[in-house]
Symmetry: C2
Amino acid sequence: MKKIIIVFAVCASITALSQSKDEANIKTIFDNALKSGQSYEMLEYLSTKIGQRLSGSAGAAAGVEWSRQAMIAYGFDSVWLQPVMVPHWVRGKAEVARIISNREGTIDVNICALGGSVGTGSGGISAQIVEVKNFDELKQLGAKGVQGKIVYFSRPMDPTLIDTFSGYSGAVNQRSSGASEAAKYGAVAAIVRSMGSNIEEYPHTGGMRYADDVAKIPAVAISTAHGDRLSALLTRDKDLRMYIETHSQILDDVLSYNVIGELRGSEKPDEIIVVGGHLDSWDLAQGAHDDGAGCVQSIEVLRIFRAMGYKPKRTIRAVMYMNEENGLRGGTKYAELAKQNKEHHVAAIESDRGGFTPRGFTMSAPENVKSKIRSWKPMLEPYGLTNFNQEGGGADIGPLGPQGTALIGFLPDSQRYFNYHHTREDTFDKVDKRELELGAASMAALVYLIDQNGL
Amino acid sequence: MKKIIIVFAVCASITALSQSKDEANIKTIFDNALKSGQSYEMLEYLSTKIGQRLSGSAGAAAGVEWSRQAMIAYGFDSVWLQPVMVPHWVRGKAEVARIISNREGTIDVNICALGGSVGTGSGGISAQIVEVKNFDELKQLGAKGVQGKIVYFSRPMDPTLIDTFSGYSGAVNQRSSGASEAAKYGAVAAIVRSMGSNIEEYPHTGGMRYADDVAKIPAVAISTAHGDRLSALLTRDKDLRMYIETHSQILDDVLSYNVIGELRGSEKPDEIIVVGGHLDSWDLAQGAHDDGAGCVQSIEVLRIFRAMGYKPKRTIRAVMYMNEENGLRGGTKYAELAKQNKEHHVAAIESDRGGFTPRGFTMSAPENVKSKIRSWKPMLEPYGLTNFNQEGGGADIGPLGPQGTALIGFLPDSQRYFNYHHTREDTFDKVDKRELELGAASMAALVYLIDQNGL
């Protein structure tokens, strides 16, 4: 009995010692990020000097080269590019849209073509508008109600959902597949109310896909303010028409790259922990929150480790994925090569919910892995990381899932994300320095704990 | 035994039923705030149409009248003014400040007089600068090092403290009592590095007090960017001088008011639950986050109850306190009258940490009361309210403490607060609609639970 007690006491002491070492190292991580962090300066450059980074654009190429050089300058053990062919969609000339009402005259409204959509060409499209809230209403109207018309999908994000990503999920199918749904019944174009939390003048773009078996019709988003105006006019004037002109085109695929930086593990170099964000953005945005923030936070994780002299046991990689927004080619390629090269990815952490104040981490992993991560909560709570209950990883890291990698999403506060998402308003000045830094430190703290303790 | 089990089962069922009723009502509160909330519109008016509301100013009078009318318009049971004499400090003409360096020439810097400070008058003050980080360093310099000079207090807010209010607390004594400390040793003026989280061009004003027994010397804040410039120059040029000109004056006290709106309790009208914020702001700011947010959130709590048809058991009051910033006369008067009128205040909740995303509530109350409030955590956590561990209430409600009132502070995320606090940047556009609304709903939810269950 005495022996057992002694063994227990020794074990408990070792655990306590290693916990207090972990706590001290986590404090060092946060202190470094908040006192001498580089994430904010990096993001300023990426957002304001480079700006938009749509896949296939010159901006994306500049983003690749900038992040490669940044990681070399920070002295990471290796930095390399991973070639990947990406879609090349271009918006072309600015869009034009007008509501044409017999009663009210002509009213200009703000729209933008959805990513991946075909253009109307300079002839434009002029047709009667029909409004629906969802695909059921569309189906009920059928070809009789839809043929030859422009369908307006007007269901808003549900404001009563506290997590704005839930509101987004509940509305985004209108954007992603509304056009093809409408085309089934002979619509000539689709308009979707922007996926935004507020009533604003500017539209939110975003990805859409055409189904294989129906006509490809132009698809645009209208600003929430103008969308609501359209709905109001439609209640009074069922014969309302709209003129839409978009110039988007789908060009040939272009060679681009994932950008990877690595600190080589000292004890278990074959076990890899990945942190990442996506380098591409929409063309309308600077891509500050989406997802410049995730990129610079990922670089910052490795920079902090070097700055504090931490030698990771396992290999730590920062990955800037290309083409999350309209193809996910980068994330797919990364996982494909990981499999081909027989790499063992223990965990992948993605930051793609903006550079806002940290709330926790989402997880997509076996229950025992989740429990282990949750057991670290007492060490992370002092930094505001309290939510470890949501399911989920991230789009770019998703393809690693089938390889048994624990997928983890950095979870910042979601309230402001859909003010800016995919719009001209996603600019550097919308990012708060401390919030961004706390996010980087939160990710570094979790990487540190996984590196020290395994999963 | 069976009887006991049955009694237990019945009790458990009743608890479960009332919990699920509470959960449903809390959801109704949040739904109302997020779908048809009025806090954002109210704050837009208060911030942009009325603007600054420094005690004794025309803006403060307009704020009083606006909030009185707003609460009447929402149909509260009673709305009244509580007269209170407040200090009347005025800034006067814009301040002037220049660093005068033999090596670098003359450099204009941005300063502002601290609230309550005396002016230099149009003659200004020109003297040598001596920099200290704290009162110990000042003491070590003594009269020999300080006499006839301007003392620059340069200790920044500690950025490694996660709660920015802790960083503020660690630095603010330089602002509140630096002038009198410096005057003890014969200083002719005091400059304090602004209490801000970032490096900015604009200074942060704020309150200061003179000790009774020393000379009243002018006191100003310098912007963090210019303060750091000053520090850098001082390392190269110990004989650096500065010219400061401020025109502030302390005028006679002015009659002003706390503004109170009430929903009368249906069962225990003599038990009062107060929610409040302070109506006054600094003259440089619109007072959007500090503390227009707290005012409109408090009005919103009562508006939501009426909108959802909730008849409180206890009396619920929204109080807009006057003069938190430079005197606390409103909060003091409110408590004084509560005592005089033998009112029983069960709980007082204050929102004075900005209109940011909710994190929890601070408490200053007996342990059993804290435990009771913490027992409601499972019903509040789904709304992001997870932190119930911090001690504290709020400045305005503090004077109710000796009457046995449970003091509760609404605790939003603190990261952005000291970007704006007491500056020209504390404007309506810095407030996020959903964050503000969630704060109002959080306060309403807690008031509801206290009203239903007592404390």
